[in-house]
Symmetry: D2
């Protein structure tokens, strides 16, 4: 194993594909596997998968320890994801792991925990065309993407989107039915980078689209862990000489450990 | 009651003051009461208090419903704050209530939930002088504050501070011992405004300081609720005529309610 | 004159209205006068106008000194605006005056000087419908505006828009022809607040629209000057005792005034 | 020449070094040459220099065309830099060239043009110690830098610093005399990346410091041009079918070229 490759784990809920024939027709091995498959040919990536119904949702301590970038697709079963696992993933992101949240993952516990907001939006399961406008073409995630690209059919997600102001706004979507959406956005949280990318409703073949694949591949590289810093709240001695206490004498409470 | 006054609730942990004589000497009726007392004379404010050991921590549904701005000071007992109450306060902020988090409140559950990060920092219970530099003098929270103001003794909080990039950075502190800190910062979360303000260690009289009082008073006005919008994720009909479906026939799953 | 009223100056190029009958039909006294007329009834505003062909473009030292918020509509004659006047307006914004830039004012010298970027965009003089989505409903500029509002016909402006990342993004437009645009955005520059608002092509009656009028009125209040701080780069004595120089002796050049 | 190397041009005013013996003692071949010298050993960089007194200040069309990242140190002679050259550099940054502005370059015409603000600050030519705190350790520019690093003597620059809110704030400085400063900050402008880095007064050996060298080297890599996009404001045909004009007939002015 080349330790310089970006260790990438694609997490999928993997339920629709097992219960809905129309989804299985598009993603016979699961959406996570479709995503993993277009990432694997890239020599700088080392790609694994994990799914909800595996033990610990496939996100064991060892897997998380060996993940530089985690991708997340979930939808109907957000509530079945264990809070303990979400806490571990959250901590890993704050320590430096990248996280790419896809489509209905906007309501995943991990995304809501990182954003601190509702993450709600308007939606419509219809046959809107989606046109994603590239508003930050110099961003590494937009590399190779022109002024816009289109998905001939997608679920509509519309503003207002209940997120904190993105640190970087890369794509804004236009929908046939009359809505707009901030569909590609980043946030720095702790030492980790977070990217939300809108497309990917299970009944449409969006993860087979070349532009969607390019954006996700770019995002994996952008979000790769570059530092690993564990949480600490150190009591720190002065770096500079402190003046003698000259004011009224103070009763000082003994130092208590900080939670 | 004038409905146009800003309904302000000052929440205090109110424990140090009951167990530590040196704290009681500075804040005999509690820090929350000291803060409420300098806010009350302002005719546009209507000020109440709430504390940890009251039922529901003093934050009943009725109190929260009737609060435009909540101030929060906690320290040793963050863990004793009920998760259910934190969830309610969180939801109220996202709906539009302002929140002002003071000093050691950086580790309060409600602040961490809104930030999504560790909120950790360096610290030292010492006798540093703190000088707060005003880096955004046109901000309403800095109204009436000059280039800087000083607190002759304060606990040191130092960078790195584990927060998301502030939407607005208003004050940066200099400490005698050699550290700096982003000590006045805002974030927009949902429809609410959040302000974190660093000073206020319980063993120092910072809430008796005229500049600290001015900043907090300004912040209450800045953070006042201006809209109240409840969370919703509506399924939305198209606003524009949609083209007929011309592609391959799609099996459409019935609309499922979104969590 | 009540010194607490917001002194507002509406600047208009006022050329199209004199040479193009279809524009004159919509704005017989000029667009600036239409705008001034809907602002004047507000008791907290004191409203004047200025136009390109007046001496000093109507922006004399006295007018600028007595303006809290300046609105700017220009189009064909950007190049005729004197650089000296632009410099004065620029300095006033940095000192605290608010600036509201309307529609084709995106290419005004003053806007480009404040942004530092191209301010370019896609465009089409057509009959697109424009729907402005409200993505920051708690912002004072969005007060009273619902999820969206529509203009039945407007010139299209499309992304990419060559601006720095807005400090606050309030409106995103959807156009019939398939484009999106960041059509309401703010930037803090020096001690002044800047708001760009997209609608207002001269051949359409957008400044007669109630929602457009509401947004502009809100923006005047939001952008009002609250401080006035002149540029300075002071040589400053230490606030703290400095250690004696203990290193190798340094040749020190005499203090030269900083440009 | 390897086209994948980052073409880096170090621009120096190169005046102090020729007239002030104490500066020449520290930077005998000029500050620009000292900087170029620590960059050159990096195999991924291709490093040239340019100075004020060369024809076109060394920044000919050919040099600018072949520069991915430009570094800028100027001080006393900002006014001698030709406006025409500044315009060319400005345009190149907006097209994608990176720009690293050093120390007194905060008052360079090119930095002021990109920021749109005064860029003023407090200052003191003294022997303050500067301690630069790393507040964004996961940023590529902070790679290899710990919690802080120190410069035993530097000129003091203090807040308020007249800049737009940085897109990313990486370093905050502490000075012995009691001031703080945002001393490492980035802005995205057009398709180019801009980094301002505070240290580097000509009478101190800061560019011989290992940490300063590391930050600048990191910054060159971060700021490298990744796209090259020329300014355009295209008139665009609709992407979607437009409804027939059904409203009152409009006199339409012929399309005029946009300035």
């Amino acid at each position: 194993m080349n330790s310089h490759r970006i260790k990438t784990t694609v997490w999928g809920e993997f339920r629709h594909e097992k219960t809905d024939a129309s989804v299985a027709a598009i993603y016979p091995d699961g959406m996570h596997e479709t995503i993993a498959r277009f990432l694997r040919p890239h020599a700088d990536l080392e790609v694994g998968t994990a799914t909800l119904d595996e033990p610990e949702h496939g996100l064991t301590a060892d897997v998380l320890e060996n993940t530089d970038v985690l991708l997340w697709w979930g939808h109907r079963a957000h509530k079945e994801v264990s809070d303990a696992i979400v806490d571990k993933v959250h901590r890993r992101v704050l320590e430096g792991m990248g996280l790419i949240v896809l489509h209905s993952g906007h309501y995943a516990k991990i995304f809501k925990a990182l954003m601190g907001t509702t993450c709600s939006l308007k939606w419509r399961e219809s046959t809107d065309k989606e046109r994603l406008w590239n508003v930050m073409p110099s961003h590494p995630i937009a590399e190779g993407i022109g002024d816009y690209f289109e998905l001939p059919r997608e679920e509509m997600y519309g503003e207002p989107f209940g997120i904190p102001t993105p640190d970087e706004l890369i794509f804004i979507s236009w929908f046939t039915g009359g809505e707009v959406f901030r569909s590609g956005a980043t946030w720095y949280r702790g030492h980790g980078r977070v990217f939300y990318f809108r497309p990917g409703h299970e009944t449409f073949p969006s993860y087979h689209d070349a532009n969607v694949q390019r954006v996700i591949t770019n995002a994996v590289r952008w979000a790769r862990q570059t530092v690993r810093i564990k949480d600490a709240a150190p009591q720190s001695a002065p770096l500079e000489a402190m003046p003698p206490e000259t004011g009224p004498s103070l009763h000082r409470t003994p130092v208590s450990p900080r939670v």
